[in-house]
């Protein structure tokens, strides 16, 4: 059986044109998906049943026993951390926020270690963004800054930019200019009309120089800024000002380097300056497929996008204090529930050292690096493969993901719902 128009559950592009071939209860082939999407659809090695660590051994347990352990762990904790959420659907994220509030715990999602700084900048100066469809149909200049879509969002160029013909761009490859700014060459820089290689840590200075040129103050600039020749900076500004519609996409090359959210703020302000001459937009290349949804759900429910601390009985948000890396590195939380992410593979060492010292439950379909630190792991269906739900694309468009496979695994929402109901019995009798 071939299921058309399936939504890919890997990255923030949420490509919705995937054809999945299912035979004998297994996905055997995909069409249109990139390497990343294909590997996710075809993935195997799922964990078969919940497991519990007993001394130096792993023991299989029932779902009821796993839920019992999770409920007891969360009710016993003074400062539980509920982390992850980006690989699951909005419905499960809602349950997570309710649970964090009732437990007076902290809920954080993976955006605190990807585009959290971008959100901080947006809170300061706003977000002149647009949907991917607008870019595909209108943008005659694209700037990729600090990102490598060929590796991280492989179909972004073919669906929306370099190779995508649009309503106002009959021959995209000829009519659309692509500028790539990065500290290193990559497969993406090879496809650029103009590659700007800057010195590591100099994004802020280069953005400021571009703003100065747009404002007509370029004569004051030195011969090079952040390793970039002045002439090249002038050329880029000239291209941008002549464009009918420009779109900047930025990645973790801006959020993870020195300056962090200030880099993004400067990039947004550059776009602001360019809008005095032409139409320009800027958006983040969101990585985890529903990380944007996690920010949305948290914001509707609490007013804040990530790093929300309920210990005061109200929602409190202070990135750097209430974010997962900080709470773990300070050895502050005394229990951790991890949903749809793998902090042991993606967090700095001091955080993982603390995970080893506290009770941890993970809800995830696969054994991963975090499994080694779990007291209990509960395998679930994969949202977008054997569980349906709502996910947000990188441009903020909500898309309903499909269930293409029938398995016996419960969904994240079902497991979290059971845990939440039991917590309610105790905390809200």
């Amino acid at each position: 059986m071939i299921i058309k128009d399936t939504v890919c559950p890997f990255c923030g592009c949420l490509c919705d044109d995937i054809e999945v071939t299912v035979e004998d209860g297994k996905i055997v082939a995909t069409d249109n998906a990139c390497t990343l999407g294909t590997s996710k659809f075809l993935g195997d090695h799922r964990m078969k049943s919940p497991i519990r660590r007993v001394g130096k051994e792993w023991k299989e347990i029932s779902y009821d026993e796993a839920i019992d352990y999770t409920v007891d762990m969360l009710l016993d904790a003074d400062r539980p951390l509920l982390y992850g959420w980006s690989g699951t659907h909005g419905e499960a994220q809602c349950v997570g926020v309710h649970m964090a509030e009732l437990l007076k715990g902290v809920i954080d999602n993976t955006s605190s270690v990807c585009h959290g700084p971008s959100i901080l900048a947006i809170q300061e100066v706003g977000h002149p963004g647009c949907t991917l469809g607008q870019v595909k149909n209108r943008a005659d200049i694209i700037i990729y800054w600090g990102c490598n879509p060929i590796d991280a969002h492989p179909r972004h160029l073919s669906r929306y930019t370099r190779y995508a013909n649009g309503f106002f761009l009959e021959n995209s490859f000829r009519d659309r200019k692509v500028i790539v700014v990065d500290v290193r060459k990559s497969q993406t820089t090879n496809l650029a009309d103009e590659f700007v290689q800057i010195k590591p840590g100099c994004d802020y200075a280069v953005l400021s120089a571009l703003r100065a040129i747009v404002r007509g103050k370029g004569d004051d600039l030195p011969r090079t800024v952040g390793g970039v020749q002045r002439e090249q900076l002038f050329r880029i500004v000239d291209l941008c000002k002549k464009a009918k519609f420009g779109a900047v996409y930025f990645g973790l090359g801006l959020t993870m380097t020195a300056g962090k959210y200030k880099n993004i703020r400067n990039a947004i302000e550059l776009v602001d300056e360019l809008n005095r001459h032409t139409k320009f937009t800027i958006s983040a290349m969101r990585g985890h497929y529903n990380v944007y949804g996690s920010n949305e759900v948290n914001t509707w429910m609490t007013g804040y996008p990530f790093g929300i601390d309920f210990s005061r009985g109200i929602a409190f948000y202070n990135p750097g204090e209430t974010t997962a890396v900080d709470i773990l590195a300070r050895k502050e939380c005394d229990a951790c529930l991890i949903v749809a992410s793998d902090p042991a593979a993606h967090f700095p060492r001091p955080c993982i050292e603390h995970l080893a010292e506290i009770p941890v439950v993970q809800i995830d379909p696969y054994a991963n690096a975090t499994t080694a630190f779990c007291d209990v792991q509960i395998p679930v269906g994969i949202t977008g493969i054997d569980a349906a739900g709502t996910a947000y694309r990188m441009d903020g468009v909500p898309i309903r993901t499909k269930k293409v496979l029938e398995t016996a695994y419960p969904s994240d929402e079902e497991i979290l719902g059971s845990v939440y109901a039991r917590i309610q019995e105790v905390r809200q009798p």
Binding site: F10, C11, T35, L36, S39, G43, H45, R53, K56, W58, D108, S112, V113, G116, L120, N148, A152, P154, R184, K185, S186, Q197, P200, G201, L252, G253, M256, T257, A258, K260, Y261, G287, F306, G307, P319, G320, E321, T323, V325, D326, A329, D342, A344, A345, H346, P348, R349, P350, C351, I352, E353, A356, E357, Y366, A367, N368, A369, A372, F373, Q377
Partner: protein
């Protein structure tokens, strides 16, 4: 040799990210991409191991020549090997220095460890079923 460590997504890292016990994931995330000139200075060939150290820890990676990498910098795909030597300071933003950690790189005869060996060092228990 002192260098700046950058980390990031690669296709091979992303394609195997849901199968972290695979050899492909281990091989990709434990690769230290560096410029050939820097490898010459260290006296190492492609495929030989390097010891990468920071104030937060040390880890053995396998060197791979890549002329896309600037001399004086290394690139390690996202994953447990790079994070083994990254600190928890976030400068009040929630975001660690994933792309700007200063490290030293030296030739070594030490073997590269598995992901679960790294996790064991930090207090974890491997799950190999």
């Amino acid at each position: 040799m002192k260098v700046m460590m950058n980390t990031g997504r690669t296709v091979d890292q992303g394609a195997n990210v849901e199968n972290k016990r695979s050899v492909a994931y281990r091989d990709e995330t434990s690769t230290c991409f560096m410029h050939f000139f820097d490898m010459m200075e260290l006296g190492i060939d492609e495929g030989e191991n390097v010891l990468v150290a920071s104030p937060y820890g040390r880890v053995v990676l396998t060197a791979a020549a890549d002329d896309l990498i600037k001399p004086g910098t290394i690139f390690v795909p996202y994953g447990p090997y790079a994070n083994h030597i990254i600190g928890g300071e976030t400068h009040s933003t929630g975001m660690p220095d994933f792309k700007s950690t200063e490290v030293t790189v030296d030739a070594t005869d030490e073997p590269r460890r598995t992901i679960y060996e790294l996790m064991e060092e930090l207090g974890g228990l491997p799950y190999d079923h």
